[in-house]
């Protein structure tokens, strides 16, 4: 006789999962398949709550969590094969850009696109179709992928390419992990002759100043991004633009080891803060210091890759600084004709006291063929907001309406609160994507809290 198993009993593999914003937790069983066969078995034996792959949990909302599901952590899928002749790399879906850069940079290569953190996996970069400071000229991460391997909802291992299987390939790029579990991807690299970046820094006096400078000058730069002081009355900021420095721009000393690369986190924000580090006082101090530390104008400064691309990665778990209520990031893209939405958003959020230390403005270039890819030509603003602010839900809903009416949309990797109606209206190719997804996953094995919340 066996003891009855309680339906309320916990299993050892259960984990509370949230996104980077630490809001809306759900519990799932986390498994780490060792091989593709293990992964196929997990998909074939999936329970009614389905399966979802999770990388390093840097999406802000509920994209990489799925209550009651089997969440697959591809920590064992970390192969890395560099083809220096072709200038490509084939990487396991569980490899982080952090690990890749440690191998690639000393070998004279850089990833085609990096978001503001290198703590993302290749799988996550494809699923969210991430963008970086070079979007206005070089597009998203997915645009540089030439092939990927994926296990679909029927347990079949498939190789997807933009030429051979365009529908499935582009449904997976930006598909938030809902078309299958990617195990590996091959993507093009940027050749480097040095590991330093030549950076032009300019303080900007207000929004008009920064936006006109970006409109006029961004095309001359590979990388460009502006930090906006959302606390300051005029929304002053710091515009940083640059490109990889050629080796002959380096000092004699630097030329001795031009591809040296070191990326270290310097501090961890402690786990428990009574009311969060982020409050009106610390915010003003932070933004003031950030603005002051930047030169009024300095051109041709050589910076390291971590300093230029990943300034927030110096503090591990900085997301804890917002305290127990967590935070969210509101990121929209709007066409050039709707640049005014940037100012309106900053005003509306500061009106309710939603203060943000991290506010980033960037220009987007052309879209790619992926139906759910976020970037579209024009402006994108990303602004962090503590989740506990009174009246935030209403203000963001009204901003959603404004973004939608201007032909814009929100980034799924950041979203944690938009409505299903906003999703469907702002991504008009959603139903086209759903048809491809349904064919790749006829039983609906792949799902997430985000997918349920937005009826994807």
């Amino acid at each position: 006789m066996t003891d009855p198993v309680s339906p309320l009993a916990r299993s050892d593999d259960q984990r509370v999962l949230t996104g980077w914003g630490r809001t809306a937790p759900s519990v799932a069983e986390v498994r780490q398949p060792a091989t593709v066969e293990d992964l196929i078995d997990i998909i074939a034996t999936a329970g009614p709550r389905g399966v979802l792959a999770r990388g390093l949990g840097r999406s802000y909302g509920d994209a990489a969590q799925s209550g009651g599901a089997t969440v697959v952590d591809l920590a064992h899928f970390t192969s890395l094969h560099l083809d220096p002749e072709a200038g490509t790399v084939t990487a396991g879906a569980g490899v982080s850009l952090d690990s890749i850069l440690r191998v690639l940079v000393p070998a004279g290569f850089f990833v085609p696109v990096t978001p503001g953190t290198r703590m993302v996996t290749v799988g996550g970069a494809v699923a969210a179709d991430v963008h970086g400071k070079n979007h206005h000229v070089e597009g998203t991460f997915g645009s540089h992928v030439s092939a990927m391997t994926l296990v679909d909802g029927t347990g079949q291992v498939r190789t997807l390419t933009p030429e051979g299987t365009p529908d499935e390939f582009w449904a997976t790029v930006g598909g938030m992990g809902l078309t299958g579990v990617m195990t590996e991807a091959t993507f093009d690299l940027i050749p480097l002759t040095s590991s330093l970046v030549s950076v032009d820094t300019d303080r900007t006096s207000d929004l008009d100043d920064v936006m006109s400078r970006m409109l006029e000058g961004d095309d001359a730069y590979r990388y460009s991004v502006a930090w906006i002081d959302s606390v300051h009355r005029t929304h002053r900021g710091v515009l940083t633009r640059g490109d990889h420095a050629p080796v002959d721009a380096l000092s004699v000393k630097q030329r001795a080891n031009p591809l040296a690369y070191s990326a270290k986190a310097k501090a961890t924000v402690p786990a428990i803060f009574p009311s969060g580090l982020v409050n009106a006082l610390t915010m003003r101090a932070f933004t003031e210091a950030w603005f002051r530390k930047s030169p009024t104008s300095r051109h041709g400064e050589l910076q390291s890759i971590p300093a230029f691309f990943h300034p927030l990665d110096v503090a591990l778990e900085w997301n804890r600084g917002y305290g127990p209520a967590g935070f969210l990031q509101y990121q929209f893209a709007v066409p050039d004709s709707a640049g005014h939405v940037v100012g309106t958003t900053l005003k509306q959020l500061s009106r309710i006291g939603a203060l943000s230390p991290v506010t980033v403005l960037k220009r987007f270039g052309a879209t790619n063929p992926a139906p759910l890819s976020f970037p579209q030509p024009g402006w994108t603003l990303a602004i962090d907001v503590p989740a506990g602010v009174e009246g935030l839900a209403q203000v963001l809903d009204s901003l959603d309406e404004l973004v939608l009416s201007e032909g814009g949309r929100l980034y799924l990797a950041k979203d944690s609160r938009m409505s299903p109606a906003m999703m469907a209206a702002s991504y008009p190719r959603l139903s086209e994507w759903q048809r491809v997804r349904d064919a790749m996953d006829p039983q609906g094995v792949f799902t997430s809290d985000l997918a349920r919340r937005l009826s994807l």
């Binding site: 309680s6 709550r49 909302g61 509920d62 799925s66 989740a387 944690s416 609160r417 409505s419 809290d449």
Partner: protein
């Protein structure tokens, strides 16, 4: 799914005619709400609750036949509701007050009170807990009562059913700890409702809307136990320490 700002998408009320439950649904943020299931015995009270919510523009209100005392039917009914989609908040709000003197005279009435308030809640609560555990998120709100904190001469049959329910709900909350599902135990004092109409009002009497506001705030803060009104916590702590020879003489 509950979103990052605590906006629920779906609510289930067991005991759909409950005025406190209706007030709670009205007090919840509703910008993302798309399904409200009022489960209860077919009655004018149930229809009235649905009409009230719909008139207040609460979206997706439906009623469903559910009888707390028919425990054999609970599995199918609750499984059916969850099969149609995740439920973010379940309000377990059924219960009967009964008359103490009548129950003393006719123990079958006392049995009905116990069957509804305790046995029915144990059955429904376990079925809901199983489904919340499976979906990995969600909160079960259990309407207990201060009457369960200490049995009083004037209503100990009702009080004992709530004492049992309260103990059950606390244990269930502990069983679900770490599962993503949570239990919120609500202990109201005297609330002005149909159930209490005609009874003399006790001190600290409140309206269903007041209880609703306390529940919504407790949900946002992730609390495990709340009194309504809040200061009743202190009153009950005091009463619980009163020696029995004194307590039984108190005019409460």
């Amino acid at each position: 799914m509950m979103d990052a700002l605590g906006e629920p998408q779906s609510v289930l009320v067991l005991g759909g005619s409950s005025e406190i439950a209706t007030a709670t649904v009205l007090a919840l943020p509703r910008a993302r709400l798309r399904r409200v299931v009022l489960a209860g015995r077919a009655s004018s009270g149930l229809d009235e609750a649905a009409a009230t919510l719909t008139a207040a523009a609460v979206p997706g209100v439906v009623t469903l036949d559910f009888d707390a005392t028919q425990t054999a039917s609970h599995a199918d009914i609750i499984d059916g509701i969850f099969a149609d989609g995740d439920v973010d908040i379940v309000l377990l709000a059924f219960g009967i007050l009964g008359d103490q003197a009548q129950a003393e005279a006719d123990p079958s009435l006392a049995v009905t009170m116990a069957t509804t308030n305790y046995t029915g809640a144990v059955s429904a609560g376990l079925h809901v807990a199983r489904r919340l555990r499976l979906q990995g998120h969600g909160t079960l709100v259990v309407m207990s009562s201060v009457a369960g904190d200490r049995a009083r001469r004037s209503n100990f049959v009702y009080g004992s059913t709530k004492a049992g329910l309260d103990a059950f709900a606390q244990g269930l909350g502990d069983a679900l700890h770490g599962s993503g599902a949570r239990v919120l135990v609500v202990r109201p004092g005297f609330v002005r409702t149909r159930m209490t109409s005609g009874l003399p009002e006790a001190p600290m009497t409140i309206d269903p809307q007041d209880v609703a506001a306390i529940i919504v705030s407790a949900l946002r803060k992730g609390r495990e136990t709340v009194y309504a009104p809040g200061p009743l916590r202190l009153v009950m702590a005091g009463l619980k320490s009163v020696p029995r020879p004194v307590f039984r003489r108190l005019p409460i």
